[in-house]
Amino acid sequence: MKQFNISRIGNFIYRDIILLKGAIITTLSVVSAIFFIVFLFSLRGDHQITSGEFMSVFGKFYVALGVLFIFSVFKEAHNQKSNHFYFSLPVSSYERIAAAWLSTFVVYTLVFSILGFLIGQIAIILGSIFSKTNFHLLPIFSESYWHTVKVYFVIQPVFLYGAIAFNKNRVGKTLLVVVLFVIGLIVLNMMLFGILNYNYDVFSGEGLASEAFDKTGQDFSAIGKGFFMGIFAPLMLLASYFKIVEKEV
């Protein structure tokens, strides 16, 4: 058993959604209105919504609202007056993390993409009725769409960890940690560059250096992606699990 049960995960996701129903409906209504207005404007001129136009608005809201959704899911766990119910509910820590990941990544991505598609399609239909727009299906599954989903896939566990670990100013503290982490990576990068290339007389700003960067990028970008997608994100989920195990009220 007994510590991992699919139906319990389903019930827990359902519970989270019902508890946040009001906020979810309000947010999706506002986003739908914004999407609709922007998509109508996109129909001017070429009478179509391109995948680039779709992603320029969808991408911004998708990541930002996803992050806010992650923090909302763990709101109950940090409220001194309701965290008793959250932690005493017969749901294991594995199930809590699985439910949070499924709802804030899989369910969220599906719902938000379908919403974006439907609103865009409604705008196209209205455009074809009231103006010269030719009816066409909204092209949402572009390379840019999958890239945005991948980015969210990597950053989602980071914010999931922040949502569990910090009790107050959770969004701000998580962003601060992410910024410090990125600055640390840049500094490390510069140091490594200095150490590894100085002996070969390769200095930034020179043609040889940019060529070296391009080649290195081609050779190692797959490894970098593999690291973030295959190791970093699951590691952060594991860290989130241990954080929730040790969490007290």
Binding site: R8, I18, S82, P90, S93, V245
Partner: protein, 282 residues
């Protein structure tokens, strides 16, 4: 059902809240957990529910360590906290989203209790008073049919008719397989309900006795002039009530307030006497 041995707890950068606590809670009883403010009653309840982890000691619920928040264990525990916030849902929706997690949950029992508390399943919890929210939670807690039901100040916020209704409902809720632990300052609200008393003082358990043992060996009331020498504890207020060894006197109702005050000032004397009687009986 619950075994606690040499349990120790303190919050970070704080004094010890619970020290060397050893208790054994058995099914079929309603325990009254008493203590002054800040003596660790709520903390002990949170530890029993797996919401806080002890710093040292042995602690088992149904033979399992609760600190890992084992699902099987949590399915048999429900806690009604003193201060809480319920989501702004209809009572029926609240039941629908939370009841699937408790295998023993009885919907019929829940809605019957809601009706008994003069509430409607269609009412939105956010529009209810604190007392009525507490009734929803008490009804839910009882309907979970967990083996262990913990209640922290359950009568706080309840009006006078609701308190007697609560006593009636709780008396019906207990059975041989269940253990109910009630922590309260309002001893008068529960005098007819509890059958075992645990008192915490200065981070320790200073009293742990079944009510039957207390009423068998202690006498509560106004003593005669010639009985003054056998008084264990007395209070000049409330007309000079006193606690005496019962000996051959008629049995009296246990005055929990007097017993509590007596234990805080004369715990060794009372414990020694009750334990001596108990050992002699064995």
């Amino acid at each position: 059902m619950i075994q606690i041995k040499d349990l120790r707890f303190y919050y970070p950068k704080s004094k010890i809240i619970l020290d060397n606590i050893t208790l054994d809670f058995v099914p079929g009883n309603i325990y009254g957990l008493f203590g002054k403010n800040g003596e660790g009653k709520s903390t002990l309840m949170k530890i029993m529910t797996g919401l806080l982890f002890p710093k040292a000691g042995y602690y088992r619920v149904l033979g399992k360590d609760i600190s890992g928040r084992n699902v099987k264990c949590l399915q048999e525990i429900f806690m009604v906290p003193e201060d809480f916030e319920l989501p702004g849902l209809k009572i029926s929706t609240y039941e629908q989203v939370n009841s699937p997690f408790y295998p023993g949950f009885s919907r019929d029992q829940f809605y019957k209790l809601i009706e008994e508390f003069k509430l409607s399943a269609d009412e939105n919890i956010s529009t209810l008073s604190f007392g009525n929210k507490k009734k929803v939670l008490i009804a839910f807690g009882i309907a979970t049919n967990t083996k262990l039901l913990l209640m922290d100040e359950p009568t706080n916020g309840l009006d006078i008719p609701s308190k007697s209704q609560f006593r009636k409902i709780m008396a019906l809720a207990v059975d041989e397989g269940k253990c109910i632990i009630i922590s309260t300052h309002q001893v008068r609200d529960l005098h007819s309900l509890i059958n075992h008393i645990v008192i915490l003082d200065q981070s320790k358990v200073v009293f742990d006795q079944p009510l039957s043992n207390i009423s068998e060996h202690l006498w509560f009331g106004k003593p005669m002039r010639d009985e003054r020498e056998s008084i264990i504890y007395s209070e000049t207020s409330f007309g000079g009530k006193a606690m005496l060894f019962r000996q051959d006197r008629d049995e009296t109702e246990v005055d929990l307030e007097l017993l509590f005050n007596a234990v805080l000032s004369e715990s060794n004397k009372i414990n020694n006497a009750l334990n001596t009687f108990h050992d002699e009986a064995i």
